[in-house]
Symmetry: C2
Subunit: 483 residues, 2 copies
Amino acid sequence: MFNTKSKESSFLLSALTEENRFLKTNDFIHWFNSRETANLFSVEQISFEKLDKWYFEEDSQNLVHASGKFFKVEGIRVHTNFGPFKDWEQPIINQPEIGILGIVTKKVDGIRYFLMQSKMEPGNININQLSPTVQATKSNYTQVHKGKLPAYLEYFLDRSKSTILIDQLQSEQGSRFLRKRNRNMIVEVDEDIQLYDDFQWLTLGQIKRLLSLDNFVNMDTRSVISCIPFINDEMRRGYEYLLSGEPDEIELFDCKLQGFCKDIFTSIIDEKRALHNTDEIISWFTELKTKYYMKVENIPLKAVSGWICTDKEIHHESGQFFSVIAVSVTAGSREVLTWTQPLLKHYSYGLIGFLVKKIHNVLHFLVQGKPEPGNLDVVEMAPTVSCADAAYRMRQSNKPPFLEIFISADPTRIRYYSIQSEEGGRFYHWQNKNMIVEIDDSTLIDIPENYKWMTLNQIMTFKKYNNYLNIEARNILSCLSFI
Amino acid sequence: MFNTKSKESSFLLSALTEENRFLKTNDFIHWFNSRETANLFSVEQISFEKLDKWYFEEDSQNLVHASGKFFKVEGIRVHTNFGPFKDWEQPIINQPEIGILGIVTKKVDGIRYFLMQSKMEPGNININQLSPTVQATKSNYTQVHKGKLPAYLEYFLDRSKSTILIDQLQSEQGSRFLRKRNRNMIVEVDEDIQLYDDFQWLTLGQIKRLLSLDNFVNMDTRSVISCIPFINDEMRRGYEYLLSGEPDEIELFDCKLQGFCKDIFTSIIDEKRALHNTDEIISWFTELKTKYYMKVENIPLKAVSGWICTDKEIHHESGQFFSVIAVSVTAGSREVLTWTQPLLKHYSYGLIGFLVKKIHNVLHFLVQGKPEPGNLDVVEMAPTVSCADAAYRMRQSNKPPFLEIFISADPTRIRYYSIQSEEGGRFYHWQNKNMIVEIDDSTLIDIPENYKWMTLNQIMTFKKYNNYLNIEARNILSCLSFI
């Protein structure tokens, strides 16, 4: 029924395949853990004055690199008409260059494999995490720091060496980055590729399996695989007769999808039973962008009010949110062996969660239209709940909508739960609990104007066009598995 | 074959219908011309110091309104790595508020009619032009200038009074506006509506017919009707068998489409024969946004280098491009009877043109990925050629690509030609020649990296998502007609 020559069906087949002709998942985990000890890697917090090549610029007092490249930590003053907090000041990362997050893929015996990397980052809570083939800032691959070029980069820069399957511009955290975006790429290679020390081939099914582990798969990998489509028009048409019958299970290739896996697949393939059509969602989004503004003004980093600057960190007077720190890193597996850099340190768990519900018998996700100061275009589509400091927000009188439902969710309602880290190259120990909680009509909820029920089919359509789905939403969606 | 209850088929039927039960097209034109004399309207250029409530702000030297609302004329310094001109300074309009361009529609005896307005604007070359039901800036409808509210505005603000058919955020000229966008809306009303003096009901076929006249239909109308979809999935599927047969004509409702009208319809409905698929186009656009930057810095208006500020205008030393002027307006049919305001005056004709070509027997449009300083996201999709000063650019050594093909086009190759004005509320006598020129394989052209052949089906898909199609591209597309 499915044309296995389309890229969508090859992605789907790989997502349904956990059997790896090279390496079983358990053996992979064993190998992965061994990489931790194979490479020297130590991270130490230092005072700002011990930073090498990084300094507080005289006029702006921003934390910058001598080359003018990489990123800057700046201060911003925010004024908005959205939400309970209308005015605040905060540090933020300004990284205007667009980097590459790229995965090389190759078909072996009809199954698509992905070339994944064990990579250490100074902010990782567990040293190494599963990373894309390449994650390179522009400064990185134009060799600002004069190290060697990242391995396999040529497959992303030289069009004659690969076929592009995915190539989308996607945003990162709008609460921490000022309009940062990365190019999320998956490129297919036909030729044989040399396997370097820190790399292995995995199926998408294996990567999805590893996403059930805490802090294993890094944010960049999650961002890239969230862009993968599983369905094209031809597959959708071929499938229509099955859906009309509401089967208890769906057979795909040799897999039987049941329960929540079947619900996910139905929500991806169904185009007819969505509560709102695409034009209605575009109108809703237009209304939000028209109604809400978020004015962002640059201010000197050391002068952000409510934040205290010591010799070792810039932290909020409440002790909440995050702080700016400096670290010194020594590593044996990176392009440069020792370096210092600023990081944003987080203290408590965040919570990122989607409420889901069957409407017209198709799973819908409650999407939030959320303004954040770093968004390019005011509002992006976010999970039902996303807050970097869930415990703190729970103690406040004006809690974010729906947060309580996640905190007090009945375990039988939780469809997905894991702890995932945000990018270890910028964030020190920032962990978010990722949750999907299913409700039915017995849970009565009010839907505020900036929330909308959407099917996965709709969410995946919007995801293709840049600056619709934010990183938190994409991150949870990357964890959805068919097996 | 077509479900006439879908909004798409009702738009299509209206586009195929020039017969109007209320008013024939010729009688409408007669009525329209009579409105010119029915209302007092005079425009006089004045010196900047005679502006009332508008003045050059002391610090910034920008031209601003005392209320801080409406718009500002500012200076910008541009630095880019795109095109032959890497650095320049220019005046630009900053109008951050999102206004409404809205058309009320109603079905009568199964045919959809649009409530259109004869509206005078100070910059119009011919006093009144065919305008949407409502065109209102936020300052307008929040009554900053204390006039009366625009007629019919309630149908756009009060959701209980209408059904939204179209509601999209669309950009305006990125060469003249800093990130300006308007909300383009079409709302359907069931109740009977009182017809005020300057309003008439027209079919979409009549509006399309009027688009063959020079300077008749204003830019805001063109922008709104460019958002209209004619096809949905159901119609596309029902039609597939016909396309496979390559008929000489296509019958829709009672109309026979032949020649270029048939080519347009085929390009809208065909999803299979596009030269590049949507993912390839998104990758191309990602590459352009990654590669090109356009750094825009605010500078004092009176200090823009290369521009000369006199008491009556700010003009370029070459006499080219445009100038900033001030006018005094007296009108009997506007909310406020007399006012003064700045306008951007243009001297010569611009040229906006699409090259089209049949590829795989489906009409493709040569779309340009064009960075402009006012774009929200660096690059938008533009016509093959768009330049505000075609004759001047033809005399230069580095002409824009393809301009020559339009200037010297064989008349038998010209599929559409008309002169259209840009928004008369901001621009004084800015006229663009709008052209569509069809080529075949006998015309050999090189396609630079920032150009891509696309079908109308693809262009209309991108158009729905904000900040893809620029105003110049939407303007020409609005002129495409099936009759």
